[in-house]
């Protein structure tokens, strides 16, 4: 089993976010959101690493590295929305959904380009699998947000 799969299993498993008191829906959403950014960062570093080691050309990895930058830019918008906390609206949810949908569509297109079967030394699985894991985590984040019951009530909002 590869590390990112393990990480995703940990993130998606209710008992695997360690805390003495129950984890609130907001904690879960923001933790998965942070995990999303960390995995995107690891894909970028891994893609750079395979170019540095001479395993693939910069030309081949440029779309992947560029994509991680675009994802990070879009994800900053998602994080800014989440940072609003209890003032999160249904429109905010729709915006996040649309941003994640576009990340997923562009990520799937990248995976389907078929040239990403090289292993990411950072995660010990292929770049393609990393991107798929990131897409899966995006879906998990949406599920987290759905659990917040937007609108009308925002459960557990404390920031």
């Amino acid at each position: 089993m590869k590390l990112s799969v393990l990480v995703l299993s940990l993130a998606l498993c209710v008992g695997c976010i360690h805390k003495a008191t129950p984890v609130t829906p907001w904690e879960r959403a923001t933790t998965d959101n942070a995990l999303f950014a960390q995995i995107d960062n690891s894909v970028e570093q891994g893609a750079e690493s395979v170019v540095s080691s001479g395993l693939v050309s910069a030309q081949t990895m440029a779309p992947v590295i560029g994509w991680t930058g675009q994802v990070a830019t879009a994800h900053q918008q998602i994080t800014a929305i989440l940072a609003k906390g209890s003032s999160l609206s249904a429109a905010d949810y729709t915006t996040i959904q649309a941003l994640l949908s576009q990340i997923q569509a562009s990520g799937n297109a990248l995976v389907n380009s078929g040239s990403l079967s090289i292993k990411n030394p950072k995660s010990q699985q292929t770049i393609s699998a990393d991107i798929t894991a990131l897409i899966t985590l995006g879906n998990a984040l949406l599920s987290d947000l759905t659990a917040l019951n937007i609108p009308p009530a925002l459960q557990g909002a404390s920031n």
């Binding site: 690493s49 930058g69 675009q70 915006t95």
Partner: protein, 79 residues
């Protein structure tokens, strides 16, 4: 945690070396929350912002170093 999962994680850490250990420790720190929910949320938001900014900076530097035009300013627009 499932003992088999622990064993698999240990094997991955051994096989992957320092770079994987660093990655794993960052992930583990994200998944270990303190008792203060408000602080946990603030930490998670800060962590996400730091990771995204680091990614954007690295992409910009790599693109410039390799003669590509960086498109990190491109923003995905909501539908």
């Amino acid at each position: 945690m499932n003992p088999q999962l622990v064993e698999e994680i240990i094997q991955l850490l051994i096989a992957g070396g320092p770079v994987v250990v660093d990655f794993f420790l960052k992930i583990e720190s994200l998944l270990n929350l303190g008792s203060d929910a408000k602080q946990n949320i603030a930490n998670a938001i800060a962590s996400a912002n730091a990771s995204d900014q680091d990614t954007i900076n690295k992409v910009g530097a790599w693109m410039a170093a390799n003669g590509f035009v960086a498109k990190v300013s491109f923003v995905l627009k909501p539908a």
